[in-house]
């Protein structure tokens, strides 16, 4: 039995990543591909100190969060991704390389992302940034 069969949440996460890649490659616009991987009640939590901090709810909230994020960062690359599935939750461990849109400053930081899946859709997403102060420093004008 493959890991994917043992951990069905992994298949959901891969569909989400594919949809996200396609959305970003096309420059945004059609959000339906990503929406198809999200539960209507999905919530993304961001630390309050960030410019896009707070809770973003539902498909429209998720789309608004992606736009708010894109206003801050002009490039974003995720490397060294490792996935840790356990039942309906997956934690991904990676390293992010980003450039702040307004300042042009580059920043990189380790990232953990917590995904909870319900009925093959993502219901909760919570990123843990290694150091939010580092992000704020890069974004600060």
């Amino acid at each position: 039995m493959s890991t994917q069969e043992q951990q069905p949440a992994l298949a959901t996460l891969r569909r989400f990543y594919e949809a996200e890649t396609a959305y970003l490659a096309s420059g945004g616009g059609d959000f339906s591909g990503i929406a198809a991987t999200l539960d209507p009640e999905c919530v993304i939590y961001q630390p309050a100190s960030l410019p896009y901090g707070g809770e973003w709810r539902g498909h429209s909230g998720f789309e608004a969060w992606m736009k708010a994020f894109a206003e801050q960062w002009s490039s974003l690359e995720v490397k060294d991704s490792e996935l840790y599935p356990n039942g309906d939750v997956i934690v991904s461990k990676s390293h992010v390389y980003a450039v702040a849109k307004r300042t042009g400053r580059a920043a990189d930081w380790p990232l953990l992302q917590f995904f909870r899946v319900r009925n093959s859709k993502i219901i909760e997403l919570r990123p843990f940034h290694w150091d939010t102060a580092t992000l704020l420093e890069a974004l600060k004008l």
């Binding site: 939590y45 630390p47 309050a48 100190s49 490792e82 840790y84 599935p85 356990n86 939750v89 997956i90 934690v91 461990k93 380790p110 953990l112 917590f114 919570r126 843990f128 940034h129 290694w130 150091d131 939010t132 102060a133 580092t134 704020l136």
Partner: protein
């Protein structure tokens, strides 16, 4: 109990649970007697253990070895008079285990309470912890906790 002899076969989660138990015993002894032995915790960690704390935390930086770990524990207790971990979820793979939890602290300096999610990557080698890397939800909140 053959805790030490079984260390090499223990899963990362089992080692981490033993560490947590030792840590709780350490804190209880410290609270009751004002002094505690570090030995039980030491048994779960390799001599070259490293604890990475986000650089902008009031106790940011890398803490090396048993001595470093103890130094960090002293710094933490100088800032917080309450430390509680709740709702732990474990994610295990190879020699790593990731813990996601709620971390509740109270500042000794200004009485503020921090109640945030936290995640931590713990890496093992031969049944001993070699690296801790905690991810705090919101570093500025901990900076404020250490400010009078």
């Amino acid at each position: 109990m053959s805790v030490q002899s079984s260390a090499n076969e223990a899963t990362p989660k089992a080692v981490l649970l033993r560490f947590y138990e030792a840590e709780a015993n350490y804190m209880k002894a410290f609270e009751e007697n004002g002094i505690a032995s570090f030995n039980e915790m030491r048994e779960t960690m390799a001599p070259d253990v490293v604890l990475h704390q986000s650089p902008d935390l009031p106790y940011g930086g890398d803490y090396l070895g048993y001595e470093g770990y103890e130094q960090w524990a002293v710094r933490m207790s100088s800032i917080f008079d309450k430390l509680e971990v709740a709702e732990r979820e474990f994610f295990e793979q190879g020699e790593k285990v990731i813990v996601v939890c709620r971390f509740i602290t109270r500042s000794r300096i200004n009485g503020s309470v921090q109640d945030f999610p936290m995640a931590q990557v713990v890496t093992m080698r031969n049944g001993k912890i070699v690296e801790f890397r905690p991810f705090y939800w919101n570093v500025p909140a901990y900076v404020a906790a250490a400010t009078r």
